[in-house]
Amino acid sequence: MQEIVVISGKGGTGKTSVLSALASLGPPKILADCDVDAADLHLIMHPRIQKRQEFISGELARIDPDACTQCGLCREYCRFDAIDESFRVWEQDCEGCALCYHVCPSGAIRMEPRFNGYWYVSETRFGTMVHAALLPGAENSGKLVTTVRTEAREIAEDQGIDLILTDGSPGIGCPVIASLSRTNLAVIVAEPTLAAVSDLKRVQELTSYFGIPSGIVINKADINDSLSDEIERFAKDKDLPLLGRIPYEEKITRAQIEGKSITEYDPSGLGEYMHRIWDGIQERLDAEQKASTA
């Protein structure tokens, strides 16, 4: 089984548009949406939810006001300022470290499992999709990403499908690391802005650190040709294939408004670019496969 992960720096590079277009191309696949912080993929995929599961991870302190003598020790010890003057635990600040639980002389604090949101298995017109929705303010964690990816793998095995397309988390923190590990190809989506070029470099540092073969797609390439060229030079320098340049077109937003992938919305124009990008990806995957079986 092979897994492609589409990633980018944080700066809204149109990753979801690229991903949904790729989903519509090539062989059948399972989709795994690990960009759970701001998961937008469903706006294009229109998933029909088949299964919903609670996502429980970590713990949360809870103070029983009847047992609490307001001695203030917990507040003094908590290093995350999660307990306020009225001895209430602020869920968003609590790290679940349990120090207060051990400190409290009155046994007024309990540690409870933390409910962070749901993950789903859904049907879409491009295949089965595993995705998640976090409660507002909940932490995207490596664990949720791993849960989504593991489920996608199991479904792929069940359905006899050999390819998983994963929407990776943005940034360079723990979730993206969890979405990268053991994938066969990382497609890095970049755009030609100063900020995005620096993001690209940081993301590439990660993929190379993990030894994951990567390729680059430049989105909105014609906003700034000289920076696009710089990205191209960077790709050459790092020996990364440039999978394609996508021009900046209003049609990308139009497609979004209609809830379609850009290949569906504009099959001959943007669709053509995406087809070429897909061919490049397929070539890489085939080479990967050969290398690993040889």
């Binding site: 809204g12 701001a38 051990h102 995207n140 690391i177 100063l194 620096s198 809830g259």
Partner: protein, 284 residues
């Protein structure tokens, strides 16, 4: 006054708004401090190119075990109780894994022998400097480090309590964003008028409402998409602070790291309106 600039997702033009707002206020003669709290991918300095004159490591506490004082296998309280799996017992000693440690202090508190003390570990750096009369602080988390909030909190503590402090928040609604906005006096949410933009905006609105923070909306690239964002804001009674028009010139100007209100002075009006709305609301 502390104003945080946030967005549900990256790439909405949040940093542009933060930088231009800082420049606009500075041009009015105000004391302005800009804190780039997006420590995973700090970007503000691309637009302002400050001269850095201050640099400091960001350290977090991690345990150090005095193996001679440790009771060993008959105890293992620290190993059992650490919620982050950062300690193990290996043959004849307690081994610490600083990258997994959250610095909560539980193990040193619990150790019956006082065998655990705390040392520090560097997870990033903080820098300070000046550009165009604006004080700038920026933090950068070391690559592969997982925990941004402690660095964000320390970075914010560098900013003065007086004057206007602009906090450029990391995108999203997870803990680093929450850590940035939680003590702000006002939050500006920047969003694009597209279905994605609207969806991400709603998530941010949920969080800010839950945190009981006052906020308003800046629509960036207005005209690129549809009206659903504006309609939603109206329906929810969320003040629209400004509508920054969509243009290729603006996108190009952004891509080269220019200050929009200088490169394209038409935008000044928008910032004026933004500032007036915020300040009049604060007074009210």
């Amino acid at each position: 006054m502390r104003i945080a600039i946030a967005s549900g997702k990256g790439g909405t033009g949040k940093t542009t708004v933060a930088v231009n707002l800082a420049c606009y206020l500075r041009n009015l003669g105000r004391e302005v401090t800009l804190v780039d709290c997006d420590v995973e991918e700090p970007n503000c300095h691309y637009f302002l190119s400050p001269e850095w004159d201050f640099q400091q490591a960001h350290n977090v506490p991690v345990p150090s075990i005095d193996q001679d004082a440790c009771r060993g296998e008959s105890c293992l309280l620290c190993v059992r109780e650490c919620r982050y799996n950062a300690l193990i017992w290996m043959v004849n000693h307690v081994m610490t894994f600083p990258e997994l440690c959250h610095g909560c202090g539980l193990c040193s508190f619990l150790c019956p022998e006082g065998a655990i003390s705390e040392i520090t570990r560097e997870t990033g750096i903080m820098r300070g400097g000046k550009a165009r009369g604006i004080d700038i602080y920026s933090g950068s988390l070391n690559i592969k480090e997982a925990m941004a909030p402690p660095l964000i909190n320390q970075l914010k503590s560098l900013a003065p309590r007086s004057g206007t402090v602009i906090l450029d928040a990391p995108p999203g609604t997870s803990c680093p964003a929450v850590a940035t906005v939680h003590d702000a006096d006002y939050v500006i949410l920047v969003a694009e008028p597209t279905p994605f933009g609207l969806h991400d905006f709603k998530l941010s609105v949920d969080v800010l409402k839950q945190m009981e923070l006052p906020f308003g909306l800046v629509i960036n690239r207005d005209g690129m998409g549809d009206n659903s964002l504006l309609d939603y804001a109206k329906q929810e009674g969320i003040p629209v602070l400004a509508r920054l028009p969509h243009s290729r010139e603006a996108a190009r100007s952004y891509s080269t790291g220019k200050i929009l209100i200088e490169d394209l002075p038409d935008f000044i009006e928008q910032y004026e309106q933004m500032v007036n709305t915020i300040y009049s609301r604060q007074k009210a």
